[in-house]
Symmetry: C2
């Protein structure tokens, strides 16, 4: 026993992990130390109530809280972030607080394409990987042709690649080994060339022909999930994909919380290591599973929001959240991956796609390139709904963008039974006039929660079936016991406990609905503002691309019904999935695509919505289903009118 | 005593240095180990006889040699390279075998110029240092101008320097510290920019205005001497100069011997360290003497021959001496000086000027740029006489070059009393018809030997006064006891022992004369060959620039008289000193000059003289004073005819 000392042992179950902590630690701190993920949206501020754990043995010190129900308190539930350790403990982390088993859904479209060449061609990008390998057979020198080794190689590259001599760079180490490498296989060599802005760097020279072996990894560095895709750069085939939760989540669910954590705890380095470790794990899994050597990976392209790029690069993110919201850099030059500790070929390059502003990141510029917004003749919208909700409006001549502070509701955060698009998530939902709920889950397993597309369906269907009114309020007069009051709040039971995988009813509460309406309202307001700011109307918008991690399918009509998207023919709305990753893949395979992202990033005009009076007005009007002004949604007006008759 | 062991102690005097060696070591090896310089032209092959030392105590094992006179053998002189250590020894290194005190002559022209701006202007080079510092006052960001820190800096540089955004590069470390640096002095920063080919690298960013403090070092990396010149890059002033002997001399007097040594002893790394140590010593002396911090030095430009550049960079030099004589690289990209261990600012750049071929190095391209050969309308010659003797013929449209294998005779090597242009060297000599010798020495001190210009005068004057005939043979009938036979060879006493500083007569021997004639013949043959190869005659050559370390003055007329230079009005021949260093200084101060050297190097056509039949014929004809064919030297014919009457 350690009653007389300051060190306590905490035993976490079901992981069976032990950790020692000081007596001023919270249970959440102990979990961080034990590297156990505990759901925590507020980052440990005692606000979100997501970090519920069960105290099996031992004593803790915690203030009273309304975030736990009487039932929960009886069952020894505590909030990990509020509970100070005052003895040795045994802590049980319940299912809903854990991450395990929530395998992240990868883009199913992956499997439909044999190679990415077709996709590049469709997007009209030239296939010319950012880092490529070429095999060159040089003429051996003679007395009549006594060009030096280095210049002989340059000349051969020049001829092969049709570039100018003075745009090439060679590192000192390459130069040193060059003469031997050239002669080892009788003047046949494989040169690895990397684009660095206007310069083509000789990254490596190897004897013989190894040009067939060249891989790259495209990474979507999301606030919540990190997705990596392994590509064969020679054949443009997608080899494999893998995703992990961003372990930075332990520092805060959204990136603003993480920035605060980083600054208050001087933890930038630790948080950089955390994201780098995630990336290394992904790459390591991909290479092992596909029997590839790490050194064959010569390039990585990352697309993430501005804050994630700062964390990844170890750039101070403090000013991102302070007026006037200035990133250290939007355009980050390619650097050797090893400089950040990313394990690939020791001379391999890391490319980070460019951001536009503190709140419009590379995920958006990447997405805009993926859908070739820069080639559209008519005004086109790109709406990416993730933790924020960024909107781009533009065509080949101009682009405006903004970030909507929509919150992560459609990613499942802040929603009682919200969850990410993973196995067990309800992704499609239908509710009859008789309030019967039918649904399907990802993986066709008993439901664990509801992901973005399911939540969107849920709101639309509840509106149609009259469970809620246009303000989102429950119609308390409806005849069903599914609508009930619990802990002073109304909630609607979507799935009964006996059908779920979580030993609980899956419900949607009044607060959840308000959250989702605020979220969709923020997006619609941003869309309206951008359209108006360009002197256009919704009728001028030719097409809407909707991106984000909603799930496999998104009911576009329902998105219009709840007033998230403008009222227009569903045929002009396309759900395009994770465009951030798509753009990163394209850039990896095509310098042309990479440059396009750069051009898009330089071209985009950023609108700051914070403190914008017009935006606030738009937002207030959009805080209704579908909108305060029904005239903006004629088809929904018609739909609901039919409903009411 | 160590008679029973394999370890012997060797005590060197007058240094008073002790060293322990194995019994299979030579005295020369022991000297290397003790870091004592012993003159040795042949690199330890027992050929040159320059490594004479006096055995004070102990026993050695040495084969018989003709390189020591009877008198010398009596005085216990031994050849250090031939003598195996067989007991503890005491060795006295006599003055003539030592280096100390031979302070290398620096270009006296230095002092005549206040700044190098005038020189650059005269050469029509723009003043724009390879690495420059600029002070920028940025506009602080606001909500209406929320450009990121990195791009804000780029835009300011772009405006200031009139460059494109996409030709700039920033290192990761700079990026990381940028936000803090920008804000430390209220958005006033000093940016250090380095040219890297087409790219402008942000080498450093410092708070406030430090743009006034920026220094660079130009270095002539000679086979024999390494000369460094410290320049203030902001004012273009030459601050100071310093020179040391290349300590690589202990591995061989010429670079071919050093290449052999490097390969046979796997000593490339050691030899690289040796030259880097020389350079660090020079820089360290310069900064200390001028009270400058090492970090203020942001750039170094090196000009040396191809082999020296290989040694400096640690590039394998083996193929330089093997057919087809292929350098690893003629064009070496700029690298961080610290990568080679050169101590300047840790992010400072090292630029090596480009070579043309194995035997035409950066010293020549640098020289050609220094005299602006690339702007000449009419065919112009540049002759650089160092250890080899390289010749360039060209104008603004074409350039041809070759290396003459002239040997280092005019640097004093292989000449009994030859020495480099240092204090005590006879640099001007006059001989009357009565065989009276008058002379002046560098530093006006008693003579220690004869440097290049003195040797050149000596041959011309001996020819004029009839001491030698046109074949270089002593006229044994002349009435003077200064011509004498010694050790089976004739020699002419130039200075009596009592007038010298070396306790010996200063003489010139028949072998010396033959050496010098071969040397000048090789140069003249190269000149002839280049002129003929272009279908020109000597009359077409507009001007001759003669470069090299001859001394302060060079009697151009004497160079014609002995047939080293073609017969033309002396007014069209210019002695230009160390053009290798001049070009390096220009490059340091002017990116334009640096690029000019690059262009010159790419433009030059190299003629290989080895095995060239025509060259051999030309060389045979030139092995005469002034030449076999007197018609090529009408003015000398006239001069000598007047002489004979």
């Amino acid at each position: 026993m350690s009653e007389n000392s300051n060190i306590f042992k905490v035993h976490f179950l079901p992981n069976d992990t032990h950790v020692e902590v000081n007596d001023n630690c919270t249970v959440l701190d102990a979990a961080h130390k034990a590297n156990i993920y505990i759901n925590s949206i507020c980052g440990g501020d005692g606000i979100c109530g997501k970090c519920k754990v069960i105290l099996s043995t031992g004593t803790i010190d915690a203030p009273p809280t309304k975030l736990l129900s009487g039932e929960e308190t009886e069952k020894n539930y505590i909030l990990a972030c509020e509970a100070s350790v005052t003895s040795d403990l045994q802590i049980l982390v319940p299912k809903e607080t854990r991450l395990e088993g929530k395998k992240i859904l990868l883009d199913q479209n992956e499997q439909h394409y044999m190679t990415w060449k077709a996709i590049l061609e469709q997007a009209r990008f030239k296939h010319d990987a950012l880092v490529k390998k070429i095999c060159l057979k040089l003429q051996p020198p003679t007395m009549d042709d006594s060009v030096a080794d280095h210049e002989r190689l340059y000349q051969a590259i020049m001829m092969d690649q049709n570039v100018e001599l003075n745009v090439m760079q060679t590192g000192y180490r390459i130069l040193k080994k060059l003469p031997e490498v050239l002669r080892e296989n009788d003047w046949t060599v494989t040169v690895t060339l990397g684009h660095r802005g206007k310069v083509l760097e000789i990254i490596d020279v190897q004897p013989g022909d190894t040009s067939k072996i060249n891989f790259g990894v495209a990474i979507d560095v999301g606030t919540t999930t990190v997705v990596a895709c392994l590509l064969d750069l020679q054949t443009s085939k997608v080899v494999d994909s893998e995703a992990v939760y961003n372990t930075q989540m332990k520092y805060g669910e959204d990136y603003i919380q993480r920035i605060i954590y980083a600054i208050q705890n001087d933890a930038l380095e630790e948080m950089q290591r955390s994201i780098v470790t995630d990336i290394n794990k992904l790459i390591s899994t991909l290479v092992k599973r596909n029997d590839i050597e790490l050194e064959y990976i010569t390039s990585v392209v990352c697309a993430g929001n501005t804050a994630m790029h700062h964390f990844l690069l170890g750039l101070d993110p403090e000013r991102i959240r302070k007026e006037p919201y200035i990133p250290s850099a939007n355009f980050i030059p390619p650097i050797r991956a090893i400089q950040l500790g990313i394990d690939i070929n020791s001379r391999g390059l890391l490319y980070t796609l460019p951001s536009v502003a503190a709140y419009v990141g590379a995920d958006i510029t990447s997405g805009a390139a993926a859908i070739r917004l820069d080639r559209e003749e008519l005004p086109t919208l790109l709406i990416d709904i993730g933790t924020n909700g960024e909107v781009v409006l533009g065509n080949k001549e101009w682009m405006v963008c903004c970030s909507a502070s929509a919150g992560p509701a459609f990613e499942g955060s802040g929603i009682k039974h919200g969850m990410r698009a993973a196995k067990g998530a309800i992704e499609i939902m239908h509710i009859t006039k008789e309030f019967e709920v039918s649904y399907s889950t990802i993986g066709n397993v008993p439901p664990r929660g509801i992901c973005g597309s399911g939540l969107l369906d849920c709101i639309a269907e509840m509106l149609r079936s009259g469970i809620i009114d246009r303000s989102g309020k429950f119609q308390k007069g409806i005849k069903t016991d599914k609508l009930r009051e619990k802990d002073d709040e109304y909630e609607f039971v979507l799935v009964n406990r006996d059908e779920t995988a979580i030993d609980n009813d899956i419900v949607i509460s009044q607060a959840d609905i308000a959250n989702l309406i605020r979220s969709k309202g923020a997006i619609y307001a941003a869309v309206s503002l951008l359209i108006e700011s360009m002197g256009l109307t919704i009728g001028d918008v030719h097409c809407v691309y909707m991106a984000g991690g909603f799930g496999n399918y998104l009911n576009v009509r329902n998105a219009i019904t709840i007033g998230m998207l403008p009222d227009m023919p569903a045929s002009r709305i396309k759900f395009v999935g994770n465009t951030s990753l798509t753009g990163a893949k394209m850039a990896l395979l095509s310098e042309d695509a990479f440059e396009t992202v750069q051009n898009i990033a330089s071209q985009m005009t950023y609108f700051d919505l914070m403190g914008n009076q017009k935006y606030m007005e738009e937002f207030m009007s959009a805080n209704f289903l579908p909108h305060t002004n029904l005239d903006e949604f004629p088809s929904v007006q018609e739909e609901l009118a039919g409903n009411n008759t």
